[in-house]
Amino acid sequence: MATKSEASLNLDLDLLHRLKSTEPPVWLAPRAELSETARKASKIIFSYLRTYAPKSPLDQLLIEGFDAEQIWQQIDLQSQPLLSSLKREVKKFEKKPEEIGKIREVLEGEKKVVESVGKVLEGERRVLAEESDDFDEDLDDGLDDDDEEEEEEEGSEGEEEKKGKGGAEGGIEDEFLKINELQEYLEEDEAREYGLKKDSNDSRKKGGRRVLDNEEDEDEDEEDEDEEELGVFGDSDDNEEEDEHRQKLENAGYEDFFGSKRKKAPKKNLKSIEELEEDSGLDDEEDEDEAVETKKNDNLSTHEKQSEQLRAEIEKMEKANLDPKTWTMQGEVTAAQRPKNSALEVDLDFQHNVRPAPVITEEFTASLEEMIKKRIIEGQFDDVEKAASLPSKAPRELKELDENKSKKGLAEVYEEEYVQKTNPAAAPLTFSDEQKKEASMLFKKLCLKLDALSHFHFTPKPVIEDMSIQANVPALAMEEIAPVAVSDAAMLAPEEVFAGRGDVKEEAELTKAERKRRRATEATKRMTAKKARDNTLLNDNDGDYLIFS
């Protein structure tokens, strides 16, 4: 064996040396011999590592007929879990440097040391086993690691079991009382007292595992794992066990999920008690239900029932405190932050900046109408009266635009303008002046008439020397304006009115003598007139005398 191993070792080394010695540029081009060498070397290394990775599915690296990618995958398959376990081991040794020595001793094969180590490891293993429930992520790793560690600790475990069964070492322990279990219980109780969550997680994990055993529900398990993880990460790192717990979390394996059958029966009762008494900050309803079921089974005392209720109340309140507040308690909330139409349900209190509209009632309208009627009767209206604008200055003369063709030529226009500028007096009356004159005449006439009516300011008519026909109207009408009395004093003098003797009598008025006298006068007048005629006639007819007697 030794020679074979030595020979193989030499061969391996030879291969590796060959690989190492090739120049870097040689690697650039693909070469068959190099590839062959590399494959063989990797196979050898794989086989070496196989011992440390017992859980890898490949016994040896398959290189014939496989391309680089596949070989690489195989190597990866083996090395990944290996690497993580190595990392963990390194971390562990970082924390506990003394263990390195111990491990060495183990490797060297001293059983006693193994025992002592085993005791230490027991605790670790126990915790490992307890915490191995958790794990979504690296199941493979967990499995691998678990297997690895369990391999290591199998011996110790077996010892423990032997112990347990035979009661050889302890003497105290028997079927019902197991020192280990008691220790665990005490730890958990202490933890509960001091409020360390990790213990509860421990016990819960244990319980969880038991529950799983009972129910075989994987989903639950994963929930548990999540919560336990949270719990684990939330806790302080004071305890060394914390790290171990974390490590155990990562090493979940089949046993952790489904539980190893050997531990099932004896720990069942203990678990139920633990579950009952633990302060469950659990959100896992299943667990609580389990607990409730067990409680009911046990017929609680009234005090316990009350305390249970209280606890539930407290839990509810705490939960409410942790939850985000309702929107009404959140201070400034926009419409987007609250559910739809939620403001309608809540009685909101805020200040109104506007006066509320007046409610129109019958009394209101009646009062209005009363006021209106009163105002109408009084005549007191609120009309806006226009304030008379004071004449600030005389209104400007508005020049009328003449729309007819001007009769004057342009030269005349300018001539007039020039004359007006130089000699204003001699300027002929402009169109506006004539109009003014006419207007003033009209106004004077009007004023005269109005003054006559009012009688206050009397101004006589202006004397205009001109020939005019004088009518024989009563003089008072001309001189006295007010018709105070009617006078028949005529304008004309009497002789102007009638020129003649005053004996004007009508035929009817005459007496007989007067009538005779009138006739006589008329006759004499006739006679004289006739004589005068005859004379003239006679004088004319000198030539022929025709005497007619």
């Binding site: 020049k399 635009l401 030529g409 303008e417």
Partner: protein
Amino acid sequence: MQSSMDVETVSSQTQNEPGPLPPKPLFEPLKAHEMSDGRVQFRKVNVPPHRYSPLKKVWMDIYTPIFEQMKIDIRMNLKARRVELKTRADTPDISNLQKCADFVHAFMLGFDVIDAIALLRLDELYVESFEIKDVKTLRGEHLSRAIGRLSGKGGKTKFAIENATKTRIVIADTKIHILGSFANIKIARDSLCSLILGSPAGKVYSKLRAVTARLAERF
């Protein structure tokens, strides 16, 4: 040196005596005739065909003031359809010729003789011409409407502007001529332009009133 001094004293002696200075030359103003080296000056004014018969009608009214008062020779070249003006020997002022030419030209543009005569009598009267298309490009019906707006009904808008601004306006199809003094031409032109651009006559009237009142107030 002594000799030079002697000479100086001699010269000064001669200067000291108030000698007879040559008389200051008296230049009388040049007559129109003598200007331009005594050559006669001409002006020629074309007669457009539509002013031919009106010219024949008022020829004497044109001829008399030019010949008598302005002392410019004027004749009508029938063949070339031109009015020709020429300075005479006794033309008092060379500007007379130009004034007469302007006067005749104004008549040719379409102004009345009595209006154009003002050009002869007053110095500071001018004639300004522009076209409707200078103000706004109008075509077809719009152009006709603009011309109608300018004249108004029976010419009343035009007369209103004329009377208000003391100018004379001639609207010849699309050409507009304004005769008057500088400021008045401006006012009349503004009113006409606003009419061309489309403002109603009432608006133009109110503006005119305001402007002319202001003008009148100034004097």
